[in-house]
Subunit: 150 residues, 2 copies
DNA sequence: CCAAGAGTGGGGAAAAGTGGCAAGAAATGG
DNA sequence: CCATTTCTTGCCACTTTTCCCCACTCTTGG
């Protein structure tokens, strides 16, 4: 499981160096083959290739004539780009995706279990504060969540 | 599986050069024989020939008296045009189809699993942003999608 | 304080995109 | 029916970009 927030600077060529604590596991899990795609929020998702293929299977089986299904396929599969860790444990974040998430230099990498999220630093802190504010007002969680015990 | 966005310029003759990462696979899969047709959205669909034949089978079997089925057949089969990769990995996008999708120079090729979508650059970004905005407001996804875990 | 590992930047080689040119085919006019 | 012109298509070469590797510096831990 990947966890934790890490602040990472993209270099001038848009490359992102993975924190060294993940590198060995990424090597073992997927030999450095990663897939980067977009989320419905303005951030990128980074999956180990086998993990992504699993998701992709589920997506392609959705009915093609259903509009929301089609939309999801286009967003997720359409933006999914394969990347390979280089000798220094970096990936090149594809320019269209970098642009999508509004990433410049200062970014934040967030471990999310089977995947990572990559945010622009400013966008991340803004969103986080926003979520905290919302969570404080509303106690109306959907049913399944009500019963969750932390 | 084909995935990912690629920005591609059509040349003055309306030819589109496939990204090199796909070329080997296209050679193996269909020996460079592709079928281009239209979608219900203003974009083109590009299938490897065997894959298209499979789709076409399903389409011709639809009931001829059903109006929507008939409409689908006319759109998809009616516009389907066979194209062949040239020695440089390019196809000539047929002028009527180029016109249909409003393609000029700047286009975007989107991998969608078993096929590609080809959009005009402006149309693509406009649509994508529109989908994201919709996706943000409405959490009412059709049943199958609700339970999807990414 | 020294050493080792991680982060950063730059440079070079190879491949990919783009544009032009030439040859062949088709169509039209004499 | 033949010849000429134009349009199309395939090929080749050049330029640009991308990607990979190496070297240097900074930081951290012993």
């Amino acid at each position: 499981m990947f966890r934790g927030v890490t602040h990472i600077n993209l270099d001038a060529k848009g490359r992102m160096a993975f924190p060294s604590r993940y590198r060995e596991r990424l090597g073992a899990l997927c030999d450095g083959h990663l897939v980067v795609t977009v989320d419905r929020d303005p951030c990128l998702l980074v999956y180990p290739l086998p993990e992504w293929e699993h998701i992709e299977q589920k997506l392609v089986r959705l009915p093609s004539l259903n509009r929301s299904a089609r939309r999801l396929q286009r967003l997720l599969i359409g933006h999914a780009t394969e990347c390979q860790l280089d000798g220094s444990g970096r990936i090149l974040v594809p320019p269209p995706l970098r642009d999508f998430a509004g990433l410049d230099k200062r970014t934040v990498l967030i471990g999310q279990g089977n995947k990572f999220e990559l945010w622009g630093e400013a966008a991340w802190t803004a969103r986080r504060d926003e979520w905290l504010a919302e969570a404080a007002d509303s106690d109306d969680l959907p049913g399944d969540l009500e019963s969750l015990s932390l």
